[in-house]
Symmetry: C2
Subunit: 394 residues, 2 copies
């Protein structure tokens, strides 16, 4: 999944374990840490010193005194390191320099065509990264980790795109190595939908343990949060819904050679093409949204039906995964409303009562920022993982 | 999920943490434990004494000496406790008394109609449990935990069946409380497919992290292993495939009121009914298997087509979850061969290359014993969970 990923030392340090305990952000005194861990005061004192020296933990003030000098409290310090989040779409790049809690220090978004290939695109990413470092007054070596989302399947082990259909020239490109060379930090790569799911979950629904994030744009894909964690499957390909068969839509032929694929039935490009065939002047999803705003009946019906088709596939996913929340992203405003109305119609009809009695189907809250925030979350989680912290404390 | 589930004490004991380290079964010396944990020899000695006293850890012999008296080694002792696994099907009950490694001490299977209701069925389960205790020469109070699988949806929080279609009288029955009252141990309940998935995974494919277990019988359902753990979803309803729509089979009406449901298209009862309509003498799946053995073309075609219909739904699941293995259970021999051939046809055609390049689709190895072994695994995992061990060591 990444270049330069650290390995856990064979012997975990007590300080590392203590850090995982402090990661929740709550301030604690040395006495509280001694009580929680059952370790001797002298051991606690040494470990707190080690964590303070790393910067990952900082003094947060004083606890209420029970008589005498009030004891100092310590907590996880998200400002200790910075990470870079990179969200690459088909036609845009959004980058953010954040702290370890994904609070943004500097951010930039611009149109960028992924089809230019890995050389020019990653060169531009590195240039933007340097601009962000300058804007935030930070140095390159301060970047502890880089998270990248790309609009196509990624091999989870290597972080390389795998036969991505809309990323010509990117197949098997060593994105982690190229960015590691330029930025000097470990690089993690995942597909855009997984990082959007991570970003939406971390920033808007951190307490929802079973969430399905569905991106509906030119392509259609899902990110699965189950038992609180993203689930990528055996090769990192989980959530690939674009070429799933929609029940009873075998009349539609897909560019992949199969019939009835969700993307060919309900994807943005398919809708635009269908409306054009019926005489509307549409060349982009922006035109489609304009038709919806103007109340064009055929456009409204097409988007509503796309919602039903997506719903037919999501009904299977809901029965299969039993999430408590389905979040629809990649589409906003009036188009999202019509789509979600169609999705709800079918999911509530086709799913089992036990799976839908507490199910919410909602629009994404983090919207366009889901991807870049998710990339930052992925990078920060790597920096704070037990093996990375252990290596840092050696 | 269960009556009498222990809660974690607020302060974890060092001995409990040491036990989780020893759970892998490898023998270790006191010196090795001191090296791994970084704890003082005196602390290690006290914790080892505590674990030896609980019986969960036992001496395993001596390590090679480096001069002087060879040091003693210790390891997890699966024989320390016994658990009861209960697999209730539509028409059978299989019970096993096992140790904590699911090694069977005594086992019994008999026909038992789930439709008799919770009173008579659970009374019989308790009677069989006592027969097994007698056969193994053990006492009731030695049962540390009971795992139960039932043929219907179960609310994960309470362990109660939720509107189970083939279990008349069981809706909301407090199975954990009834069995806890009779057997005096914590009781965990899950649906039969989840426990079959647990049993198949633990006994046959412990190293496969992403496995989809599919039971095909009168009903059709799945158990999901993802990142090495069973995933039950928000209400414990994950894997409910019976009423998922099969693409292009809306001609078939299901008893649930929808059309094209997998169970109505490809379930055992549906196949028997279809062959009877076309003039074959079949009243059960056993008759269907006899027809297959006799080479009846229509029976072979019907089962093969059922495989394709299951495959059409599993293709969606494979794209969604990206497992490295799909295991087909609930059906054996010639019927399994024909079903799996049909499943493979469609899954390999309809799934994406990245999701299928390393995908294996195989018949269950543990077969009829998957359920009872899984129930034992679920019970043993509860006994060995961190909170349960902590409570034991208090």
């Amino acid at each position: 999944m990444a270049a330069d990923i650290v390995k856990a030392p064979s012997r975990p340090s007590g300080a590392g374990e203590m850090f995982q305990l402090l990661r929740d952000g709550a301030p604690r005194t040395r006495a509280e840490l001694a009580q929680i861990t059952g370790q001797a005061r002298s051991t606690i004192a040494a470990r707190v010193e080690q964590l303070l020296a790393s910067g990952l933990v900082a003094p947060t003030g004083e606890a209420a005194s029970t008589g005498g000098r009030p004891p100092a409290t310590f907590a996880f310090n998200p400002a200790a390191r910075i990470v870079l989040g990179v969200d690459l779409g088909a036609t845009h790049a959004t980058l953010a320099l954040t702290d370890l809690a994904s609070d943004v220090l500097a951010e930039h978004s611009e149109p960028l065509d992924i089809a230019l290939g890995p050389g020019p695109v990653l060169e531009r990413v590195v240039a933007i990264a340097h601009e962000l470092l300058a804007a935030a007054g930070r140095a390159r070596h301060e970047i502890a980790s880089v998270g990248v989302g790309v609009p196509g399947p990624v091999d989870h082990e290597t972080g390389r795109p795998k036969s991505p259909p809309i990323m010509p020239g990117w197949d098997d490109a060593d994105v982690p190595a190229i960015l590691h060379e330029a930025l000097g930090a470990p690089v993690l790569v995942d597909n855009d939908v997984n990082i959007m799911a991570l970003g939406e979950h971390a920033t808007s629904w951190p307490d929802v343990d079973h969430l399905l994030f569905v991106k509906i744009a030119t392509g259609i894909g899902a990110g699965i949060i189950s038992d609180g964690e993203i689930r990528r499957g055996a090769q990192g390909a989980a959530g690939d819904l674009g070429h799933v068969a929609v029940p009873d839509r075998t009349d539609v032929v897909c560019r992949c050679g199969n019939t009835g694929c969700l993307e060919a039935v309900a994807g943005g490009a398919a809708l635009v093409e269908r409306l054009r065939t019926s005489g509307r002047v549409v060349t982009s999803t922006a035109d489609l949204v304009a038709l919806l705003r103007a109340g064009d009946t055929e456009a409204v019906q097409a988007v509503r039906q796309a919602g039903r088709d997506v719903g037919a596939v999501l009904a299977t996913c809901v029965n299969m995964l039993n999430p408590s929340m389905v979040v629809i992203g990649g589409v906003v405003g009036i188009a999202a409303e019509q789509l979600i109305a169609g999705i709800r119609e079918v999911v509530y009809r086709r799913s089992l009562p036990l799976a839908t009695q507490h199910l919410r189907i909602v629009a994404s809250r983090s919207q366009q920022r889901a991807g870049v925030l998710g990339a930052s979350v992925m990078a920060a989680e790597h920096v704070l993982s037990a093996p990375a912290v252990e290596a840092l404390l050696l």
